[in-house]
C-alpha cells in the first residue's frame, strides 16, 4: 500500500505524451543553451494515471466522510461548482484580452462582489486576494493606507490571544507591531483591557467573530466604538462566517473591513492546500485604498476595469485573484439563496451544539460560554490515563474520521476543536459522537491502542523531528 516515487518508476525512452511537431525545428544555440539531463521522470500515461490514482487513495477528502476540522469549515463541495469552473469560456479567458472579449468573466466578478456585500453588509468588495491570509494582508494594508492618508500610519495592531497565527503574521507584513489582548473568562475580548490599550498609536484590532472558541463577541459594537473613538479600525477575520451568514451582518456591527474565505464558508474545495480565495469587503471610507483594478459597469454599458485609483494600495496579485475559484463560490451562493444561506448557518450551529451536548462529560469543556458553529474540548479528562489530544486525534483515523483541529486555539491546553458544519447528516454526527465516546472509553481501558494509533493507514505516526533536523526535500538518486 505504499507507492514509489514517480522518479523511481522512470525508464529511459518512455513518455506520457506524444508531441506533434508541425514546424521546422529550430535549434536554440549559444551560451544560454541548456545542456544535459533536466531530471524529469520518463513514464507512460498508464503509469502516470495509476501513480496518481494510487496517491489519491492515500488521501482523505470531504467526500470520504466526516471532517470536523475546527475553524476550517470543511463543508460539502457541490460538484456543480466544478462544472461551472471548467466551462471552456472561462478556462481559456486570458486576463490581458480586450474587455470586449471577457465580458462574461467581468460580469461574474461583479455579481459575486455584490452578493458578498449583501451577505456581509459592507459597501465594497475586492476579489483579488488569493487566500484568507492574503485577504488579511490586503485589508490591513488598506487600514494602513487609511491612516497614512490621515498623516500617520500608526504603530500597533491589537490581536486577541485566541487568534489564528495569520493575524499577527499579517500585521507584521503590513508593517505593524502586535499587541496581544487577553481573553476574559468567557473567552471574549476583555473590554477593560481593550480600553486601556487603545490609543492614537493603534491602527486596528483584528477580531475573529465568532472567535476560535466558537464564542460570539457579544460586545462587538462596543469594541467598535472604543476603537472608532480613537479612529482605530475594526478588522474582522471572516474565517468563521459560517456561524453568521443570514443571521447578522458584520457591516452592521461596526466592522470596517473584513475578509471571507471562499474555500471555507462558500464551498469551494480546499484542494489539499488551496487554491482558496480571500475577498476583502469594506466600508466606503476605505474604498479609495482598495487594490486595482476595480471592476466597473453594468449589463447595459458593459463591464470594464478601472486601473486609475491614485490612493490604492496597488496590486496584491499578478492578475485579478483566483478567478476560477470565485466562480465556484458564486455558483454556491446562487444555489443557496438568502434563505438557504441562513439555514446553512442554523444547521451549522445546530450540529455543533448537538455535538457539544452529546460529548460534554466525556471530554472536558474548558470554556463554558455558549458557542455557535464550533466547540472546543480538551484532553483534561484523558490526561489522567496518559492519553493526549494527539492520541485521540490519531485514533479517530482508525474509525474513518478525520481528526478535529488540535492544539488550537493556543489559549486552551490540549485543545480539540470541532466544527461539524451543516454538511453532516444526523446519522453521520451520531456516528462521530459514538466513536468519540468509544475513544474516551478506550483511553481509560486501553490507552496503548491510542498511543499506537493510527493502525490501518499506509504509514503510521511519522517522525517529524527527523524530517526537520535533516531535511530531505527532494529526491536524488543518491539518497534512495
Amino acid at each position: 500500500d505504499k507507492e514509489k516515487l514517480i522518479f523511481e518508476l522512470s525508464v529511459e525512452g518512455k513518455t506520457g505524451i506524444d508531441i506533434d511537431f508541425p514546424v521546422k525545428e529550430k535549434a536554440f544555440e549559444g551560451e544560454y543553451k541548456r545542456e544535459g539531463e533536466i531530471g524529469l521522470p520518463q513514464v507512460s500515461e498508464v503509469e502516470v494515471v495509476r501513480h496518481f490514482t494510487r496517491l489519491s487513495k492515500m488521501n482523505y477528502g470531504v467526500d470520504d466522510g466526516f471532517y470536523p476540522l475546527g475553524s476550517c469549515t470543511m463543508k460539502h463541495n457541490p460538484k456543480m461548482n466544478e462544472k461551472v469552473a471548467t466551462m471552456e469560456g472561462f478556462l481559456y479567458s486570458h486576463p490581458m484580452f480586450s474587455y470586449n472579449l471577457v465580458q462574461g468573466s467581468l460580469k461574474a466578478m461583479k455579481v459575486l462582489q455584490d452578493y458578498l456585500c449583501e451577505i456581509t453588509g459592507m459597501d465594497f468588495c475586492t476579489l483579488q486576494p488569493a487566500a484568507g491570509a492574503h485577504g488579511e494582508l490586503t485589508g490591513m494594508m488598506m487600514v494602513r493606507r487609511y491612516h497614512e492618508k490621515k498623516g500617520n500610519p500608526r504603530k500597533y495592531v491589537l490581536i486577541p490571544d485566541s487568534a489564528h497565527g495569520t493575524n499577527p503574521a499579517t500585521s507584521t507584513f503590513a508593517g505593524y507591531q502586535v499587541i496581544e489582548i487577553k481573553s476574559d473568562e468567557t473567552g471574549c475580548v476583555d473590554l477593560e483591557a481593550l480600553k486601556e490599550t487603545v490609543n492614537e498609536d493603534v491602527a486596528a484590532l483584528m477580531l475573529t467573530n465568532p472567535n476560535t472558541l466558537g464564542v460570539f463577541e457579544k460586545n462587538i459594537k462596543q469594541i467598535a466604538n472604543i476603537l472608532h473613538e480613537k479612529d482605530a479600525l475594526l478588522y474582522m477575520d471572516g474565517a468563521n462566517m459560517n456561524a453568521l451568514m443570514g443571521i447578522v451582518k458584520p457591516g452592521e456591527m461596526g466592522v470596517d473591513v473584513m475578509h471571507l474565505n471562499l474555500h471555507k464558508t462558500f464551498s469551494t474545495p480546499h484542494g489539499g492546500g488551496g487554491p482558496g480565495s480571500g475577498p476583502v469587503c469594506f466600508k466606503s471610507h476605505l474604498k479609495d485604498y482598495q487594490p486595482v483594478p476595480v471592476i466597473e459597469g453594468d449589463d447595459d454599458n458593459g463591464y470594464t476595469m478601472n486601473w486609475n485609483l491614485p490612493d490604492s494600495i496597488g496590486k496584491v496579485h499578478g492578475f485579478y485573484g483566483n478567478f476560477l475559484v470565485t466562480l465556484k463560490a458564486l455558483a454556491y451562493i446562487m444555489a443557496m439563496g438568502g434563505e438557504g444561506l441562513k439555514q446553512t448557518t442554523i444547521d451549522a450551529v445546530l450540529n455543533a451544539n448537538y455535538v457539544r451536548e452529546k460529548l460534554k462529560g466525556y471530554y472536558n469543556l474548558p470554556f463554558k460560554s455558549e458557542t455557535l458553529h464550533e466547540v472546543v474540548f480538551n484532553d483534561k479528562i484523558q490526561e489522567e490515563y496518559g492519553v493526549s489530544t494527539l492520541d485521540i486525534a490519531k485514533r479517530l483515523i482508525d474509525y474513518g474520521i478525520h481528526p478535529p483541529t488540535i492544539y488550537f486555539p493556543l489559549i486552551v491546553h490540549g485543545a480539540i476543536m470541532i466544527e461539524p458544519t451543516e454538511s453532516e447528516s444526523k446519522e453521520e454526527i451520531d456516528y462521530f459522537v459514538e466513536v468519540m465516546k468509544k475513544v474516551a472509553e478506550e483511553a481509560k481501558e486501553n490507552p496503548e491502542i491510542l498511543h499506537e494509533a493510527p493502525h490501518y493507514t499506509p504509514v503510521r505516526r511519522l517522525d517529524e523531528t527527523l524530517a526537520a533536523r535533516k531535511p530531505v526535500l527532494k529526491w536524488e538518486r543518491e539518497n534512495d
Binding site: P22, K26, I38, M80, M96, A130, I313, E339, G340, L350
Partner: protein, 445 residues
C-alpha cells in the same frame, strides 16, 4: 438549497430538543440580528448552470497570441481527470500526514521536479502566484542579508509583479531602485554604476526570460553582484518556466533565489487565476524560505513517509515572527503541475520547449519581412517577443479580432509604449495561424 443540507425538519427539531437551548443564536444580541432574509434568490442546479453557460458564452476565446505572464498550453486530459479525484480536490492541507500521504508525496515530487527544472537545491510547495513569489523572495533575501535595506529590480520583470512588489515592500521600509533597460534587457553598465554608488543593496532581481522575452545576461549579472557584496542575492523571476527545456536555468549561474509562476504547467489561463507561484533556493537559505515544504521521514515502523516540515518558519507556529503570513495557497495547482510534468517527462519537456521556440522563431522571421511590423529583441527569446508597429495598433487589433485572432498583448495595457506589443507562440498555435496573422499585418495600415 435543500439539496446541500442533509437535515430534515424533523431531525432539526429533535436535535434542538436534545440541546435544550430555545434559541440557537442566543449568544448574539437581539439588536444585531437581521430582520429579513438576504436578498439573494435560490436557484436549481439547472438554473445555475444555465446562468454560467451564458456568461461563459459572453467570453470570446479567439486564436490567441496572448502571453505576457499567462500561457495557453495544451493540457492532456489525464491532468484534469486525475486532479479532479475527490481525494485530491476536497482534502485539507496535509497537516495529518497519515491520511495525507497522497498530497504529501505529490508535493515532494513537485519539489524535486521544480528544483531540477530550475537547477536549484530546493523548492517550496507553492506560492499564490509569480508576483507574490517575487515579493516574498525579496523579503526572504532581506532576512538573509539583514543589514542592508535596498533592492534593485530590473524594469524587465513583469510590470504587474513590480506593482505587487511595491505594494508588499512599501510598508516595510525597504527601498526599491528600478534598473533601467537597454534594448529591453537589464543595462549591465547601469547596474555596475548603481552598485558602485550605493552600498545598501541586498538583492538584485531580474526577469529570466524577462517580460519582453529576452534572456537576461545572468552570466555577467551574478558575478557583478557577488563582486559587489558576496552576501547580496540575485533573484530571478520567470513567467514561463517551460523555457528551461531549452535555456540554461538560473541555478547554472549561481542565482540563489529563482521564483516565478508555473501556471504554464498544467493550469489553465482562467482569466488569470488560480496560478502557481514557485520559489526555489539553496539549502543554505531554506530556513528563511516562506511557504510550506515537505520532507521525507520514517514512521514508527521504519517505513518511508512524507510530512510538512521546517514549519518553525510558518505563521501557525511563529506568528508575528514567521517568514511569511502565507497559509492556504495553490496546492491543487501544484498537483496539476506535477501530473503534467510527469506526463511530459524529460523528453516531452524538451521537445515541447523546442516546439514553442521553433514556432516563435518562424513567426519572428515572417514578421520582420512585413512592412509595418518589426521584432525588437536582439537577444535570444523563448516563446514570446516584442513587436513594434508604425500602424495604429488598436485598429490593427480590431481587424484581427474580426478575423478571429487576438494578436498579442499591447504594452499600453501596462502603461507602457502604445506602438509595441508582446506576441506569444505556444504549441496551440499553428503555422497556419501565424500565416493568417502575417496576412493581417500585411493588410494593416
Amino acid at each position: 438549497m435543500s439539496r446541500f443540507l442533509p437535515l430534515s425538519d424533523k431531525e432539526r427539531e429533535e436535535m434542538l430538543k436534545e440541546i435544550g437551548r430555545e434559541d440557537l443564536f442566543s449568544p448574539i444580541p437581539e439588536e444585531l440580528r437581521l430582520k429579513d432574509n438576504l436578498k439573494i434568490k435560490a436557484h436549481s442546479e439547472k438554473e445555475v448552470l444555465d446562468f454560467f453557460k451564458k456568461l461563459a458564452d459572453m467570453n470570446k476565446n479567439l486564436t490567441s497570441f496572448a502571453g505576457a505572464g499567462i500561457y495557453h498550453h495544451f493540457i492532456p486530459s489525464a491532468v484534469d481527470y486525475l486532479s479532479m479525484r475527490e481525494e485530491f480536490l476536497t482534502a485539507y492541507t496535509p497537516y495529518q500526514p497519515e491520511i495525507s500521504q497522497g498530497t504529501l508525496q505529490a508535493i515532494f515530487e513537485y519539489q524535486t521536479m521544480m528544483s531540477n527544472i530550475l537547477n536549484m537545491e530546493v523548492s517550496n510547495a507553492s506560492m499564490y502566484d509569480g508576483a507574490t513569489a517575487l515579493a516574498e523572495s525579496i523579503l526572504m533575501a532581506k532576512r538573509i542579508v539583514r543589514k542592508k535595506n535596498t533592492v534593485a529590480i530590473s524594469k524587465g520583470v513583469h510590470p504587474h509583479y513590480l506593482k505587487v512588489v511595491k505594494t508588499y515592500l512599501k510598508n516595510l521600509g525597504i527601498n526599491i531602485i528600478e534598473l533601467e533597460l537597454k534594448d529591453y534587457a537589464t543595462d549591465i553598465e547601469g547596474l555596475k554604476k548603481l552598485l558602485s554608488e550605493n552600498d545598501d543593496i541586498f538583492a538584485v532581481a531580474v526577469g529570466y526570460p524577462n517580460f519582453f522575452g529576452n534572456v537576461e545576461n545572468l552570466k555577467d549579472i551574478v558575478p557583478i553582484v557577488k563582486e559587489y557584496d558576496k552576501k547580496a542575492i540575485v533573484i530571478t523571476s520567470t513567467t514561463e518556466p517551460l523555457a528551461f527545456g531549452l535555456i540554461a536555468p538560473p541555478g547554472d549561474f549561481g542565482v540563489e533565489i529563482a521564483c516565478g509562476d508555473a501556471q504554464s504547467f498544467g493550469n489553465y489561463p482562467g482569466f488569470g487565476g488560480p496560478l502557481l507561484g514557485f520559489l526555489t533556493t539553496t539549502m543554505k537559505h531554506v530556513r528563511q524560505m516562506p511557504g510550506r515544504v515537505v520532507g521525507k521521514t520514517k514512521d514508527v515502523d521504519g517505513k518511508t513517509g512524507y510530512v510538512l516540515t521546517l514549519s518553525a518558519r510558518e505563521q501557525h507556529i511563529k506568528r508575528e515572527r514567521a517568514t511569511s503570513n502565507i497559509c492556504s495557497n495553490q496546492g491543487w495547482c501544484m498537483l496539476r503541475a506535477t501530473i503534467y510534468l510527469s506526463l511530459l517527462g524529460e523528453e516531452g519537456f524538451k521537445k515541447l520547449a523546442s516546439l514553442n521556440y521553433s514556432l516563435s522563431e518562424y513567426a519572428k522571421e515572417k514578421i520582420n519581412k512585413t512592412k509595418h511590423f518589426k521584432v525588437l529583441n536582439t537577444k535570444p527569446t523563448f516563446n514570446e517577443f516584442l513587436v513594434q508597429t508604425d500602424v495604429d495598433f488598436l485598429k490593427f487589433r480590431d481587424m484581427c479580432e474580426e478575423n478571429g485572432i487576438f494578436p498579442g498583448v499591447r504594452l499600453a495595457k501596462f502603461g507602457l509604449d502604445k506602438d509595441k506589443f508582446i506576441l506569444t507562440c505556444t504549441e496551440v498555435i499553428t503555422t497556419e495561424d501565424i500565416d493568417k496573422l502575417i496576412e493581417l499585418m500585411e493588410k494593416a495600415q
